[in-house]
């Protein structure tokens, strides 16, 4: 079985990819992609660390289940916001969405 650090490095690479997407992308849907990738890397960490304890526990999987459910709500609300922003502005470039800037 692989050492814990390989799973940790995999989740670290996914986190770095997600942060790159959050910084570099301007399309709102791509930002949603990046957030989903980051949530996935976090759930990998939960499961890996709870599996590699001296006495493995299941709590990490339970927490990951909660995280998956929250990610589903986040995707639903985020996509509704994107559809509404597209309807109002005909564009979902996040640098163009500054109506609330004041």
């Amino acid at each position: 079985m692989e050492p814990l650090s390989s799973y940790f490095l995999l989740s670290l690479v996914l986190l770095a990819i997600g942060i790159y997407g959050l910084i570099a992308k301007r399309n709102a849907i791509r930002l949603l992609f990046a957030v989903e990738i980051i949530i996935n890397s976090a759930t990998i960490n939960f499961v890996a660390f709870s599996r590699y304890l001296q006495q493995p526990v299941i709590t990490g999987q339970t927490f990951s289940l909660f995280a998956i459910a929250l990610a589903a709500t986040e995707a639903a609300v985020g996509l509704a916001i994107i559809v509404q922003a597209f309807r109002l502005n005909k564009d979902i470039d996040v640098l163009e969405l500054k109506r609330l800037k004041g």
Partner: protein, 173 residues
């Protein structure tokens, strides 16, 4: 519970990790947004494979059901609703360089800390994984209240999303 994958776990892990990371990069960098959405679904499947390697079979099933089954399909629908030709070539010069610098520096920093921390040698678990029946027991005992609040949040989010996406006066066209 016995281990799920017996044969050559190293090669399986490397293959699944490469698929996951490559699909995640493709999801952000693909030219067409629709291909990006499909690549994101592939990346979610790769994460489900990682869960199976970690003996979390139930979680892998939920990952496929929720992420690949609902979130990826929802994203593909929205991409098809709001697709425009202009996005095919958005120039991203300075932001892309900043993003690469930020993510690579994070990767190098945390990666060196982890590799230097001795996590590599000490932590190889040979203990038997706990049965996933334990998840159900925890969900109704220790985290019962959390589960109910989560259901409430889910219902409120769906209602909010429906309210937000409702079209005003679609009948009076």
């Amino acid at each position: 519970m016995r281990r799920v994958v017996h044969i050559m776990p190293d090669m399986v892990f490397i293959a699944v990790a490469v698929i996951t990371i490559g699909a995640a990069i493709l999801a952000l960098e693909s030219r067409e947004l629709v291909y990006g959405a499909v690549a994101l679904a592939v990346s979610f499947l790769g994460v489900a494979g990682i869960f199976i390697l970690l003996d979390a079979v139930f979680l892998a099933m939920m990952q496929v059901l929720v992420y690949v089954g609902s979130i990826a399909v929802l994203i593909i629908f929205v991409v098809m609703l709001v697709r425009r030709e202009k996005w095919v070539s958005i120039p991203a010069g300075k932001e892309r360089i900043m993003g690469v610098i930020a993510s690579v520096s994070l990767l190098a920093f945390v990666g060196f800390v982890v590799l230097g921390s001795g996590l590599t040698e000490t932590f190889t678990s040979t203990a038997t994984p706990p049965s996933f029946f334990e998840i159900g027991r925890q969900l109704v005992t220790e985290y019962g209240l959390t589960l109910q609040i989560l259901g409430l949040v889910l219902a409120l989010a769906v209602i909010g999303a429906l309210t937000m996406a409702k079209v005003e006066g679609i009948r009076s066209k």
